[in-house]
Amino acid sequence: MSSAGDTADQSLTSTISVPIGGFATASREGSLRTFLGSCVGLAVYERRLKLAGLAHVVLPTAPAKSPLPGKYADSAVPALIAALTSLAAGRRLQLTARLVGGAKMFAFQTGPTVGEQNVQALEKALSLAGIPVVSRDCGGGKGRRMTLEAANGQITIETLGSEPKYL
């Protein structure tokens, strides 16, 4: 089953598209998908319970109140933890995280990009939450289509002109 911050989906095998600034969870056979340019996909997974969460992070730091907690690195982490905790229904969670995206697609961009800032902010927020980052596919100059499978935690990363990569 998959569910998103904005919409609910009752299908067991559905793929939920996570919008910009959004987050969603999936369990068992569901999957979560999003497109990433400079934004960063935060994937959080619970292997024993087959619970997956994906946030599409746009900016590092949330303002005081935001209707889109998935949009900011520092609010996306607690938002996903809360959503997965709810799905776990009292069972203990052992979460791991993976980060994807943060590309710099225009060569004329100078200085630290928002993608790099998002990755740093996510690493800090995950560290504070005690969630290890076990792998990442960040940076570079190309967009990515990212799909996270709840059944086995596999992340498929597709880029134009290249073979898919798996995390």
Binding site: L36, G37, P63, F106, G111, T113, V114, G143, L160
Partner: protein, 198 residues
Amino acid sequence: MSGTPLNRYLTACRSAASLASDSLSKWLGRPSAISIEQVEAMPLEKAIGLLGDHEGTVCGCGMAISGSLQGILVLLCDDQAGLALAAMLLGREPSDDDTWGDLEQSAVVETTNIIGCAYLNAMADSTGADTAAMPSPPWFLRDFAPAVMQSIVMAQPLTGETVFLTRTEFTIEGSPARVSLVFVPAEDASERLPGAPA
């Protein structure tokens, strides 16, 4: 920006878009017209979703702008339109067999140069500035549409939750091709936009 300054900026944008359309017509050797004109401040999410739910590929050719006008200017088109540009410039009809190569990429880049410079010159003239708006060399990319839009909107430092952008879409006579020009002013340069209070 609102009220009188916004109206002045709208006037400047319309004039620039009209000159860009004239340049495009001359460049392609066939009439072009403006089909969409959009000038507004919008939340980041809406700006990134400017191309709708389109998840296919788009071509973008971007230039960083400095001098009297600052920001990023990008030409956007889908694969069909991008491939059609090279065919039109070489005086032949587009074919389903056309594929992306150096010539097709060069066609998009040079189109960006030509209509982008026409647009920028008109916008810079509207500021009454002594210095010109200077574009960087154009940078071509072809990628997933949502990824391209993220990179356009987030290409420069942002402190707020909204982005002010201008989008003009051009149609080309005798072709289904549509080409968009998107200008995202730098957040800290908005006081230098045409129409901004002196």
